[in-house]
């Protein structure tokens, strides 16, 4: 089952947890200094280390050159690869689990980027899964490591553990009350960062934020995960308080129902209109105002993105065509 078809701990606020480990092979220069041929060699070493007879049935090995740009962008929309990885395909490959919880980018900024996405707040579990691949890699290949600097990465911002952990949070109440700027300042002081998961600006698309660790050197994996978990729980508690206050207001409940009404009846929905309304509806569903399952909404938030619609349709639709397709799919999903 894919992460967005499921829900787990604190699923009313946490959409997903992501763990990313940056690793490099000791005996090859970092990707920016590699030719496409050398990248292929790196890919072969990593593929051999990570895909075994036992596990390979559960994974696809994808050469990025074999994907169309729309397919690549769709993978980025699902956060399975980075937008940068989608923008350039030479010598790059992806190891993707069938249920899309593990995606390993080869020759992105580093030789290996192990990524695990789990539903809900599940940092320890997702890290344990990523560690399985990390261990498998270092058993078969020499990994670039230094006693002082830890895992060596192409960009020094990832030195040390090479671990970037992030939690995707739906924060409509905090975002709507204008509390995010203050919260972001406090969080920055704690060595973490929070920013819009989709788009920049004061109010990100869909009120979805990504909370992640910044510092990777001089802190252990366990400490980094514990910090992030503790701060995530505090943000969740604040969002719950802010939601409780909003739900006492009939005009706010009216906004939720009106958003639901538009999603149920519109003939065309642009991506931004859909995500704005879906944010209100998701809040209503999480707080028991509306009887809609959260996985349904999580799935729509992922699948209604432009490139993902194009891939599902098997062609490059115009924006107007997509708006009609989106409105129809949303209507059907909301029953």
């Amino acid at each position: 089952m894919k992460w967005y078809e499921n829900t787990a701990g604190n699923g009313d606020i946490v959409l997903s947890t992501r763990i990313r480990l940056a690793r490099n092979l000791k005996n090859y220069p970092f990707p920016a200094r590699l030719s496409a041929d050398e990248k292929e060699k790196v890919n072969a070493v990593v593929k051999d280390a990570l895909l075994t007879e036992q596990n390979q049935a559960g994974f696809d090995y994808i050469k990025m050159e074999d994907l169309s740009s729309v397919e690549a962008v769709s993978l980025a929309e699902k956060h399975l690869i980075s937008p940068e990885f989608a923008s350039e395909n030479a010598g790059r490959a992806l190891i993707l689990s069938k249920d899309e919880d593990v995606s390993i980018m080869l020759n992105e900024e580093d030789h290996v980027r192990i990524q695990v996405i789990y539903p809900g707040l599940a940092l320890e579990e997702a890290y344990a899964r990523a560690l399985e691949f990390d261990t498998a890699l270092e058993q078969k290949a020499a990994v670039a490591f230094d006693e002082r600097l830890g895992y060596l990465t192409q960009c020094p911002t990832n030195l040390g553990t090479g671990l970037r952990a992030s939690v995707m949070l739906h924060l409509p109440a905090l975002s709507g009350s204008g509390a995010m700027r203050r919260l972001a300042t406090t969080i920055a002081k704690l060595g973490l960062t929070i920013r819009g998961a989709y788009g920049e600006g004061s109010r990100p698309v869909g009120d979805i934020f990504q909370l992640s660790n910044q510092v990777t050197l001089g802190i252990s994996e366990q400490a980094a995960l514990q910090n992030l978990n503790a701060i995530a729980l505090q943000v969740i508690a604040q969002e719950k308080n802010a939601r409780a206050a909003l739900l006492k207001d009939d005009t706010f409940i009216d906004r939720i129902w009106r958003a639901y009404g538009i999603l149920k009846s519109a003939h065309m929905l642009s991506c931004s209109e859909f995500t704005d309304l879906a944010s209100l509806v998701r809040l209503g569903a999480a707080e028991g105002v509306l009887d809609i399952s959260l996985p349904t909404l999580n799935r729509l938030l992922v699948e209604m993105q432009p490139a993902t619609i194009n891939v599902a349709e098997g062609r490059r639709c115009t924006a107007a065509e997509r708006d009609v397709i989106r409105a129809k799919a949303v209507k059907e999903a909301l029953g």
Binding site: P29, S87, E138, R148, Q154, P156, E200, G218, I219
Partner: protein, 180 residues
């Protein structure tokens, strides 16, 4: 005008962005514009931020002109320190050894600290055992220190229910204790 990213090709793409009232302008060559994701129907406009550029920012006060004069390069990948400053990307694992002293101030500025405190690949601990003399020569961690780290790693492995790795670490600890 040269491309502001690679400083090599003629800039052909002019990117002007206004974010929160603040205007930023960039002049890029075609290949950098593509690399940084400015060529796909605006999709990347919202997503992309370039880590290399951000990182080169950290290096901005490094003695760049001076570094350029020094012709020393990493023997493994051929990168000079100037290449690293300009691209914000380190060339290979050996560059960190080669330019350690010059990279250290920037690394400290990014992380606040410059001493790894996390997981150690257990193949590295196996290697250090295989070459104990080479390790002593550079005054690397004492056996006690190694045992302490291995124990910490073993505990982590147990916590993550990675018993296979825990068993390997336990054997390594035993072997180290045997040496004493």
């Amino acid at each position: 005008m040269l491309c502001q990213n690679c400083q090599k090709n003629e800039a052909t793409t002019h990117i002007k962005r206004v974010i929160n009232g603040e205007t930023t302008e960039k002049h890029l060559c075609q290949s950098c514009a593509k690399k940084l994701g400015y060529d796909y129907d605006g999709f990347f406009d919202d997503f992309s931020f370039s880590i290399p550029n951000i990182f080169s920012g950290f290096f901005s006060d490094a003695p760049r002109a001076l570094a350029g004069l020094r012709a020393d390069r990493c023997e493994t990948c051929g990168s000079s320190f100037d290449d690293i400053i300009r691209t914000g990307m380190v060339g290979c694992a050996d560059c960190y050894e080669r330019f350690y002293d010059r990279l250290l101030p920037s690394i400290q500025r990014i992380h606040g600290r410059a001493k790894h405190a996390g997981r150690i690949p257990f193949t590295v601990t196996a290697e250090t055992e295989a070459q104990p003399k080479a390790q002593e020569a550079v005054a690397e961690p004492t056996t006690e220190e190694k045992i302490r780290r291995l124990q910490a790693d073993m505990q982590k492995a147990i916590d993550c229910q990675n018993f296979e790795q825990a068993a390997v670490l336990r054997d390594n600890i035993k072997a180290l204790r045997g040496e004493n």
